[in-house]
Structure formats: structure tokens, C-alpha cells
């Protein structure tokens, strides 16, 4: 029993996905797990509260509609991807105008069951992986990031 807290701590500190070595993890500021490359490609993984317990399709389309209809992003593609636990998530790829610059953006969403689901405690959360960079950098790195998505912890 004494080992359990250490195991929990070790798991919580481990990277939530396995990225190529040139991504360097940034210091935790309480904004999720962050990593960056020397050419300013950025990855962030966050667990966000799911207030209404919607399914992955609902949340994916909510995010997609907000980005396209409200913020003017252009959708480039979308699809499904499984995480390490085999849960199916949805990904969307966009091109956006950020302060007059052309930026590409990848958002991936999974619905993660609560840690103590077997006790009937807690609510499901959303695991959101974001990857953004200037268009040319994004295109050079997107394949590596995509390859890392199945390593995202469930």
C-alpha cells in the first residue's frame, strides 16, 4: 500500500506521450504538459474538465465549429486516432491567422474515464493534445507528432 502513492506520483510526472528527442519538455506552470523544439514547434497536453460529460464526437465537433465558425480557422483535415489504451479520439488540422501570420494547428481530443471509475468516483475528462507552429515548421514536424499520438496515455 505504501508503494501506491509513489507509483501514482511517478505516473503523474511521466510524459503523457513519447515525442521525438528534439522536443524539450518545459517547466510545469500548471498549464498542462508542454514541449518545444528549437524551431518553435509547440506541443501541449492537457486534461480539461468535461462539465457535461459529452462524448468524443460532441466535443470534437464543438471545438471544430468554434475554431472554424467563430475564429475563422480553415480546416485542412480530420480523422480518428487511438491512444495507448485503445480509446478512439478525433483529430482536426487547421490553418489559422495568428497576428497576421500563417500558423498550422493540430488538435486531438480523447474522452478519458475518471481514475477511480471502478469506485464510481469522479467524472470523465478531456485529454487534449495541441500542436502548433508556423506553417513550414509544422509541415516538417507533423509526421513525427502524428506518429507520437498512439503513445498518448489513456
Amino acid at each position: 500500500m505504501c508503494v501506491l502513492p509513489f507509483l501514482w506520483f511517478a505516473t503523474a510526472c511521466a510524459a503523457p506521450l513519447t515525442l521525438p528527442a528534439d522536443f524539450v519538455q518545459l517547466r510545469d506552470r500548471g498549464e498542462g504538459w508542454r514541449a518545444i523544439t528549437s524551431d518553435d514547434a509547440r506541443v501541449r497536453v492537457r486534461d480539461l474538465v468535461d462539465p457535461t460529460e459529452g462524448g468524443v464526437e460532441f466535443w470534437a465537433m464543438t471545438l471544430r465549429n468554434d475554431l472554424v465558425d467563430q475564429r475563422g480557422y480553415e480546416e485542412v483535415g480530420n480523422g480518428e486516432v487511438k491512444n495507448q489504451a485503445g480509446a478512439v479520439g478525433r483529430w482536426f488540422e487547421f490553418v489559422a491567422n495568428v497576428q497576421g501570420e500563417r500558423v498550422s494547428y493540430l488538435a486531438v481530443i480523447w474522452v478519458v474515464p475518471p481514475t477511480l471509475a471502478w469506485l464510481g468516483i469522479g467524472k470523465p475528462s478531456l485529454r487534449v493534445v495541441e500542436f502548433a507552429a508556423k506553417d513550414a515548421v509544422f509541415r516538417a514536424r507533423i509526421d513525427a507528432v502524428r506518429a507520437a499520438l498512439p503513445t498518448v496515455r489513456g
Binding site: R42, V49, T62, L63, Y73, N97, E101, R102, V103, E130
Partner: protein, 262 residues
Amino acid sequence: MRRVLWCGWLLFLVLLGACQGPSVFGERAAPGLTVAADEAPAQSDPATNPLAGAFFNDASDGDIRGRSTSSPAGADPSAPVRRERLLIYRGDLRVEVARADDAAREFLTKVVEWGGYLQSQQGALLVVRLPTTKFDAAFAAIRAAGRVLSESRQANDVTEEFVDLGLRIDTARKSRERLVEVLKKAEKVEEILKVEAELRRLTEEIERMEGRQRFLADQVALATLQVAFQAKSEPPPVKKTRQWNRFDWVNQVGAETMMGDF
């Protein structure tokens, strides 16, 4: 009295003959038509014209026969002949997309899935050949990829040329067969040389026409589509007014937050 009886018999026989006449002629006429109909399929016989069956369906195969013979007995000559057209499709599209290279690659993947292939590529300008049955699907896929800047399509009817080539090939083959017979019987060297020269000419002519027919068949089976994917030079427009999302987490994610203070 005997003369009267003799005349009566003669009259009876004449009347009998007259009554049976039409059916006798009918029986004669029927084989004649059958022969005509049976001879005609030789035009589309795979042995003599291997391409004919491949590009006309059963109904149109009959149309070829119809074209090579007179109208079948009992058919209404004023009725329109149902004919499968042989059309060569060509299309040209210019479309603006977020990423030209990606869009070109994705489109090419679809073309290969449809059984087509890439004929040439220069950057994001593709010329592809794809089954004619997928021509409309290809246009729909390209339209869905971005904003269409220009679009054109053509259908060139080559039915007449294709059928005429088939008939000319048949005629040339028959001439060649006759020349071979003549060659077998020829005795003088001068005659043999002349016949052989004519045989060579005919063979070359047949090969040229068969080549043209194969080319047409290929063009009909596979449509040609030229697609220019053009990337947008400027970033997408920014929405001037943005409504805050009722789900707070949605407001926390996005390219703006990622590219801001990270």
C-alpha cells in the same frame, strides 16, 4: 369434257400455288435474313475485332450489327437506334486550397484507389488518368478540397471513328486473305513480288488502324483530368467578432494560445 377437266385441274393448281405463294416466299426469306443477321456478328467477333466487345455493352453490340447490316425485318426504320456512345472525357480544374502539396497528394491517393494513375506532375499541377466512371467523383472530390477558381470539361464522341475503323480493319483483313490465296497460286516472280508488296502495305495499314483503335479505346476507358492545386498566398482571414464559447475549456485551446505566451 376431258379438256374442261384438264383446264379445271390446271386452274386449281394455279390457285393452290397462288395461295401457298406467300408462305413459300416467307420460308425462303427467313433464312436469308437469318444469314444476314448471322454474318453481321463477325464485325464484333473477338477473334477478328478484339476491342469491339470490350467497349460496347450487349445492347450496343447489337447496334454495331445494326449499323453493318440493313434494318432487321419488322423493325421500324423510323425508330431511333439505341446506341452506346464512345466518349473521350477531358477535364481541367484549378482550385485554391490551404496546402497545395497536401491536397495534391491526397487527390493522387484517391485516383490510385479508383484505379487511375498519374500521367504527369509539375509541383501541384497534376495530369491524371482515371476510369471514366469516376470522372464525376473526381470533380466532386476536388471541389470539396477547396475553392474552385476555374473548371471545364469536354466529351469528344468517337463512336463513328471507332466503328468505321472496325469495318475498315475487317475489309483489309479479308483483302489480305484473298491476296494470300493469290500468292499461293502465283507462278511468275514479278507477280509474287507485286502481291507481296501489296500484302506488306495492307499489313502495315491494318496495324496502323488497330493501333488507332486501341488508342481510342484507351482514351474512352480512362478520362484525362488536369488539376492545378493552388495554395492561398495569404493567411486565412481573422474573425473580427468572436462569440465566447459556453464550454470554457474550448476558449482555452487554439492556435492563438499556443503561439502566445507558451
